[in-house]
C-alpha cells in the first residue's frame, strides 16, 4: 500500500505541475482531472475507499465536467496559448517559487524531526463508519454545509430563472436563436 501511495502522490504532483505550465486550457484541465484521480488513489491507499469514490464522483465526474464545459464554450484559440506562454516567463514565477520552496523545506524538516510520519496500515474505513462520524460528532458542520448549499441552489435557480412564459419563449426561439444551453446551465 505504501508503494501505491507514493506512486499516486507522484502522479498527483506531476499532473498538478502540468496544470499550471500547460498553455492549452483543455489539456490543462485534463491534467487536473488526472491529478484528482491520483488524489483518489491516495485516499484509497490510506484506507479511505469511500472518500476515494466521492473524490472521483464529485470532483472528477461533476465539477471538472462543468469546468471543461465552460472552457469548451469559450473556444480559446492559439492567441490564448500565446498569452499563457507570456505569463509563464521566469521573472514572474521565480520569486514566489523560491519562497514556496522555503516553506516546503520547513514542512519536510518538521515532519522529519517531529515524528509526524505514521506508517500506512492499509486498514479500511467503511462508509458506515464515515456516516456515523458525520451524523454524530460532526452533525453541526454537516447541517451548516447543507444550509450553505441550499442557499447556493436557490441563488442559482433565481439567476437562471426565465421570466417569459413557456409558449412565448418557444415562439421566439426560432427568431432569436436563443442559446439552448442557457436555462439548463442555470438549473444544473
Amino acid at each position: 500500500m505504501e508503494i501505491a501511495f507514493y506512486l499516486a502522490a507522484l502522479v498527483a504532483i506531476v499532473a498538478t505541475f502540468r496544470v499550471i505550465t500547460h498553455t492549452n486550457a483543455v489539456h490543462a484541465l485534463l491534467y487536473l482531472i488526472i491529478s484528482l484521480m491520483a488524489v483518489a488513489v491516495v485516499f484509497y491507499s490510506l484506507g479511505a475507499p469511500f472518500a476515494a469514490a466521492l473524490e472521483v464522483i464529485v470532483y472528477a465526474g461533476a465539477i471538472m465536467v462543468l469546468f471543461v464545459f465552460v472552457v469548451m464554450m469559450l473556444n480559446l484559440g492559439s492567441q490564448t496559448a500565446h498569452q499563457e506562454r507570456s505569463w509563464l516567463a521566469p521573472r514572474i514565477w521565480v520569486g514566489p517559487s523560491i519562497m514556496a520552496a522555503l516553506l516546503l523545506v520547513v514542512l519536510v524538516f518538521s515532519f522529519w524531526h517531529g515524528g509526524g510520519i505514521g506508517t500506512i496500515s492499509g486498514e479500511e474505513l467503511s462508509a458506515k463508519e464515515v456516516g456515523t462520524q458525520m451524523f454524530g460528532p460532526y452533525l453541526l458542520a454537516v447541517e451548516l454545509a447543507a444550509m450553505l448549499l441550499l442557499a447556493a441552489l436557490i441563488a442559482a435557480s433565481h439567476i437562471g430563472r426565465n421570466d417569459e412564459p413557456q409558449l412565448e419563449r418557444d415562439m421566439n426561439e426560432s427568431v432569436q436563436r436563443a442559446p439552448a444551453g442557457n436555462d439548463e446551465g442555470g438549473q444544473a
Binding site: I57, G61, M72, D183, A188
Partner: protein, 325 residues
C-alpha cells in the same frame, strides 16, 4: 517469491482467468448486440433485418468488423489530435471497467469492493469526458452541440441515478453488490423499491445515450453529434462502447433490483443471463417503440419529475427502514 505459496498463486491465476473471461464476455456480448439489435428491430417491425451472411445472419458481425477495420482511419487536420484519440478509449474503457463490481454468480465476479455501486457511479462520471473531449477535439459545430447536450443530460441524470439506488443501499445497509444480491434472497428489491427501479431504468437509458434519450446524437438535427468526425475503429469503439453500456446497465438492473443470480431450479448463471437479456431486449424495444422527445423536455422531465420522485422514494424508504429496524 518465497512468500507466495502455491495455493495463493493458484488462487491469483484462477481469479485473473475468471476476470479475463468476464471481460471477453462483456466485449463480445456488446459486439454481438449490434447485430442482435438489428434482427430484433426487424422482427418487431415486421421485416427481416440483416439475414444474408451465415445462418440467420449470424455472420453479419464478422462482415461488419471487416468493413470497419478496412475503412480509412482519418483524423481531421483541424482536430485536437491527442484528445481526439483519447476520447474513444475513455468511452470504451470506463464502461467496461464497471463490470468489475458486478457479481455474476456466487463464485464468479471480478472484485468484491466495499464501495461497489460507488465505483459504477465514478466510472459513469468519467464516461462523460469521452463525449465531451470527442466533441471538443473534433472542432466541428455539430459535434460540439452534441457534446454539450450529452454532458448536460448526463450530469442531470447522474444526480438522481445515485439517489435512485440509495433506497436499495439503505435497505441492504451496504454498498457492496454481493451483500445487495444476498439481501434479495426472499424478496427482489423491484417490489419495495419500484420507484427506485423506474428512475434507475430511465436514468440508465439516459446515461448510455440510448433512444429515446439519444438527443446528443440525433441524426436528423445534428448529424450524429459528438462522433460525426470519427471513422473506422475509433468510431467502432464509440459504437461498441454504447452497446457495452446497455449490457452494463442491464446487468446492474438485474443485480440491484431483480435478485441477481437468485431463482428457482435453473443454475445461477442461467438466471443471471436470462434476466440481463430481458433488460437488453427492453432497451431495444424502447428504441423501436418510442419517438425522441425534444431536448428541453428531456431536461425538464429529469429535474422536475424524476428528481423529486427519487427524493420522496428515499425519504419513505428511510422512514420504513428506521421503523422496522
Amino acid at each position: 517469491m518465497s512468500w507466495m505459496s502455491t495455493d495463493v498463486l493458484l488462487a491469483i491465476t484462477v481469479g485473473v482467468l475468471k476476470a479475463i473471461v468476464i471481460l471477453l464476455a462483456a466485449v463480445l456480448s456488446g459486439a454481438f448486440l449490434t447485430v442482435i439489435e438489428r434482427r430484433l428491430l426487424g422482427l418487431w417491425q415486421d421485416r427481416y433485418g440483416p439475414n444474408r451472411v451465415g445462418i440467420f445472419g449470424s455472420g453479419q458481425l464478422i462482415a461488419d468488423m471487416i468493413k470497419i477495420f478496412f475503412k480509412e482511419d482519418w483524423i481531421p487536420p483541424f482536430a485536437d489530435r491527442k484528445l481526439f484519440v483519447l476520447a474513444p478509449a475513455i468511452a470504451f474503457a470506463s464502461l467496461l471497467l464497471s463490470f468489475l463490481v458486478i457479481p455474476i454468480t456466487p463464485g464468479w465476479g471480478v472484485a468484491d469492493l466495499n464501495i461497489g455501486i460507488l465505483f459504477f457511479f465514478a466510472m459513469a462520471g468519467i464516461n462523460v469526458y469521452a463525449v465531451l473531449f470527442g466533441g471538443y477535439a473534433s472542432a466541428n459545430k455539430y459535434a460540439l452541440i452534441g457534446a454539450m447536450r450529452a454532458s448536460a443530460q448526463t450530469l442531470s441524470y447522474e444526480v438522481f441515478i445515485g439517489l435512485s439506488l440509495m433506497g436499495v443501499v439503505a435497505m441492504t445497509g451496504s454498498f457492496n453488490m454481493r451483500d445487495i444480491v444476498n439481501g434479495q434472497e426472499g424478496l427482489w428489491y423491484i417490489v419495495p423499491q419500484f420507484f427506485g427501479f423506474l428512475t434507475f431504468l430511465i436514468a440508465g437509458v439516459a446515461v448510455t445515450h440510448r433512444a429515446p434519450f439519444d438527443q446528443p446524437e440525433a441524426e436528423q438535427e445534428i448529424a450524429d453529434g459528438y462522433h460525426v468526425e470519427y471513422s473506422s475503429m475509433k468510431f467502432g469503439m464509440f459504437f461498441i462502447g454504447e452497446y457495452v453500456g446497455i449490457v452494463l446497465v442491464s446487468a446492474l438492473l438485474t443485480t440491484l433490483f431483480m435478485g441477481g443470480w437468485h431463482g428457482p431450479l435453473l443454475p445461477p448463471i442461467v438466471w443471471f443471463l436470462l434476466k440481463t437479456s430481458f433488460f437488453v431486449m427492453l432497451f431495444v424495444l424502447a428504441r423501436a417503440a418510442l419517438p425522441r422527445p425534444r431536448y428541453d423536455r428531456v431536461m425538464q422531465f429529469g429535474w422536475k419529475f424524476c428528481l423529486p420522485l427519487t427524493l420522496i422514494n428515499l425519504l419513505v424508504t428511510g422512514v420504513v427502514v428506521l421503523l422496522t429496524a
